[in-house]
Symmetry: C2
Subunit: 286 residues, 2 copies
């Protein structure tokens, strides 16, 4: 496994791989790897001859009040995990490699960056889209894997790729959950033991939504109320939002209408830990 920390070396390495006719896959991460990331690596392996992961906690996607400084980091552990899973290249740049000068160029995805997560984290997706654009230009992958866990991020990256003509095939990998349903996240380590137990209510509320919609409930405001009630009754979590969108356009919907699938997304805070989760609800369209 090769570890690359420099932009020019990574670009040269990518050029060599591409010229040899091999397909290069990228899994962008912020490190502190878990089985969710590893499932992305497996997905990349299915589609690429050479699998690279990037490990970089990108400051521009954190707001000043957010957890940039406390975000968990453990490169030695990440390196071991990646090696074990057959990763070929780790691209692990420093801040001064990624942002050597004052950054003025940003990629913004209008409209969809402003809703849901974007309402609570107004500069977040600008930072995400811009760093992913940088990573695509540095690692030059044929394909990249993103987790469905960050559903809005995945949508935004696909929109960026399509609108800006990046020649990168985006593959989404399903959410990986603990046995009790909690979606894997590097941020789960912030949770106290009690919070950790109660955090399963996110998944249970999504399953409740799936059941309601499967039972032919059409009114999503009513589904939201049931979810809010469940979360309030079984935890101290504070709900930032529970929203339903058309997964193909990310526009909010309040009624199932003729959609075959509705994406339910939520963000809930436990103390200072903010968790997000989502589920594609299979409806029974008329």
């Amino acid at each position: 496994m090769k570890i690359v920390k420099d932009v020019a070396e990574m670009q040269r390495t990518a050029d060599e791989i591409r010229r040899s006719g091999k397909r290069l896959g990228l899994v962008p991460t912020m490190g502190y790897l878990h089985e969710g990331h590893m499932s992305l690596v497996d997905e990349a392996r299915k589609n690429a001859d050479v699998v690279a992961i990037s490990i970089y906690v990108n400051p521009t996607q954190f707001a000043p009040n957010e957890d940039l400084s406390s975000y968990p980091r453990d490169f030695a552990r990440d390196e071991k995990l990646a090696e074990t899973r057959g990763v070929d290249i780790i691209f692990a740049p420093s801040d001064s490699v990624m942002y050597p000068h004052k950054q003025l160029a940003f990629v913004e995805i209008e409209e969809v960056s402003r809703v849901l997560e974007g309402e609570f984290r107004p500069t977040h997706f600008k930072g995400v889209a811009s760093v992913v654009a940088k990573l695509f230009n540095i690692v030059k992958p044929h394909m990249a894997v993103f987790g469905q866990k960050d559903a809005q991020q995945a949508f935004i990256i696909r929109k960026m790729v399509s609108d800006l003509n990046f020649d990168v095939n985006i593959v989404l990998a399903p959410i990986v959950r603990e046995e009790d349903g909690l979606a894997l996240s590097s941020r789960n380590i912030y949770l106290s033991e009690d919070e950790r137990k109660k955090a399963t209510v996110l998944y249970r509320s999504l399953k409740l939504a799936q059941k309601a919609v499967g039972d032919n409930e059409r009114n999503l405001a009513r589904v939201r109320s049931e979810m809010l009630e469940l979360i309030a009754s079984q935890s101290t979590g504070k709900v930032d939002y529970i929203d339903f969108v058309d997964p193909d356009t990310f526009s909010k919907v309040e009624d199932v209408g003729s959609l075959e699938r509705v994406l339910a997304l939520l963000a809930v805070r436990f103390g200072r830990t903010r968790l997000i989760d989502n589920m594609i609800l299979e409806t029974r369209p008329k």
Copy 2:
């Protein structure tokens, strides 16, 4: 010479060229080619084995009140000129190829897009940077040539390339002028015979600035006044701006200070035709 109109075909063509070990150069244009563009082609030829030009009048860089609909177009003529000059590939997409869906992803270069041209054309550089990002992702050049004529655009593209890590070497080519000094521009055909004669005052005002600074004038406000006076006395041109910037940072300067070179830029309107020009002034730093 190959003419490509489709994104996927251009990307495939680029991949083949790159895999064969050849260097690919790009000259992005809006067509209606003149000797200025041809000098960019020559510059690309010096640096690349395969020279592509793109011909695309990009709507997103025109404001609603600007000359998108009247911008001169003549593909047959462009094709002949390009062929004669040894261009290998013309990438000439339609609007529906470049913008098949509602475009939401844009590249913005903060600060420097707001001054000079950006004050008079507030959305212009957002459109320019975004379409150049698209063209880089479609044509995948090793190097691209831009004209010093659009000095602020060239600065912005270089900042985009640096900040977003595009692996594209940007080469600038000097301004090509008519015998009487008027900088070549596709927009010159808008000028009436009388306006065309008087438009040489732009170049003469820049030469005046060069002479003043060469004669050790340090105060650029005074230089601006002299230029304004010359333009007012010898034409009916309306000055949008005359500005001086540090060519390395594009920040405005009002005094030569310790700079060895100052970039003087101006925009002047003749009737409905807006002309821009610029010159790097060699100073005599103390």
